[in-house]
Subunit: 293 residues, 2 copies
């Protein structure tokens, strides 16, 4: 099937920094769009541009053929999708439900099962690229769910991202995002340790970073977050508490199949120490503070 902005309507739930930019791209492409957010004020700008405010997620669902969610934690996702008056209960027959939150693969499977039982089409579609990627419509989007459903919603996804892939059935998008976060966790520690070592032994760490950033030690984490570490620029970017959530999901999922991730487990412990000392309202690069003292 083909989505058509004359016949079909979009719902968007979750208008934080990421969701706001993403919904704006859909609106700018002239799709009719109904929106909901826990904090209503964050929808003001979108409503001023023509989005229609709804008072509950269920009401958004009742008006929409495609419902996109960009929420915080898996328990938010579970409530919005599976709770009483939630999306699976209220969605129109045959509607597409696309969760772009980074959330649990098992929950994505559970939602897909519930959706399927009601004749709905669920896709999991977490993203990477952060606030900048969202603003520039250059997100990577990792999708799990039915192949045909993926193809149907692809034109909508292309309004928000550039590297959009279908990785498998329900949960495959979330699993791919978890693989991404698992890689990031230990890479981040390598960057913290290398740069703090450089400082401790008396080198100019910025010069070290420029020297090693182009070779085998090079990474997004080193080349983008390394300079922020050295400048003491610890604002998010990507929140420490979000990475902690993601690591918890990955540890749960890997634990369920009896697979050990000792590196990431250590990183999770480091962030626990970090949280106890500094709180978590920082970007992930602030982990450097544990070393740089």
């Amino acid at each position: 099937m083909t989505l058509d902005k004359k016949q079909h309507s979009i719902g968007f739930i979750g208008l934080g920094i990421m969701g706001n930019s993403m919904a704006r791209h859909i609106l700018s492409a002239d799709w009719p769009i109904h929106v909901y957010n826990r904090t209503k004020a964050k929808a003001d700008d979108l409503v001023g541009r023509g989005a229609v405010w709804m008072d509950t997620p269920g009401e958004v669902a009742s008006q929409s053929d495609v419902i996109i969610t960009m929420l915080g934690y898996p328990h938010d996702v579970e409530e919005v999708y599976l709770g009483p008056g939630g999306l699976v209960e209220r969605a129109r027959d045959g509607a597409y439900l696309i969760d772009m939150t980074t959330s649990s693969p098992s929950l994505a499977q559970k939602i897909a099962d519930a959706a399927s039982a009601r004749g709905l089409r669920a896709l999991d579609a977490p993203v990477s690229g952060g606030d900048v990627g969202a603003r520039q419509a250059k997100l990577a989007i990792m999708m799990g769910g039915g192949e045909e459903d993926f193809k149907t919603v692809l034109p909508l996804m292309e309004l928000m991202g550039t590297n959009i892939r279908h990785l498998g059935g329900p949960g495959a998008g979330q699993h791919t995002k978890m693989a991404n976060q698992v890689v990031i966790a230990s890479t981040l520690v390598g960057v913290c340790e290398g740069l703090s070592y450089a400082k401790k032994v008396g080198l100019d760490p910025k010069q070290v970073l420029e020297t090693i950033g182009t070779g085998a030690a090079g990474s997004f984490q080193l080349n983008v977050l390394g300079p922020r570490m050295l400048d003491g620029a610890f604002d998010p970017g990507f929140y420490a508490h979000h990475l902690m959530k993601d690591m918890d999901i990955a540890l749960t999922e890997s634990g369920e199949i009896g697979f050990d991730l000792p590196g990431m487990k250590m990183v999770r412990g480091m962030f626990e120490n970090f949280k106890n000392e500094f709180g978590t309202d920082f970007g992930t690069q602030a982990l450097f503070k544990l070393y740089d003292r």
Copy 2:
């Protein structure tokens, strides 16, 4: 001072895969060059092109104004430089001694002190870029030692590398290389864990790699070594036992200043397990074997 191929002669000691390519670039630029290697046969090709074989490192030193070494382990470096009949004993007055082995920063300092006491000029200049970088004369070269001495030998270094930096006094080059290896160690674990997670949960890991390699999880380790892991291509590249040596040096150096590198310490332990099970005649990417079973 300016080095001049009509007046000055180069010595090159250590003609393994890396050293061979590096010496060839110097020879190709028409410098007179004397060479030595523990296994003589590895010098045959260079001698055929005009390099002059010497029977000991000390004899190379006695013929050279600039002596370059590319050896294996710190104990090799110590013996060749500081042992009886070694470079510091036999070098011409005012000669430049450039150790390009990845070795201990403390030893670099010790060599610089001994060299200085004899009126010699020592530089530490480890490289990154591997056999390919050496072959293509595109090494990154990280130099420690006197600023003036660095400037004098820079034209020679430019025959072998492209990103050549002076990072500080004696040992600063080695410390920078250690920072590089510290970053690599944990990054490698992140890549192993992310890709093995992807396989374990039933995703197509190659597709996952393509998806996540361009974003915040991206790194040289992921994008270059990740495909080799998934193809079971475990040949070196960069030998596991060399990384183990480097991690040992970094742990010794950081231990001496009471600085903890818990991530790298864990990686060192993993490689110990790896070695016990598989040996170490593999590239570092073979660490994946510990996860992929």
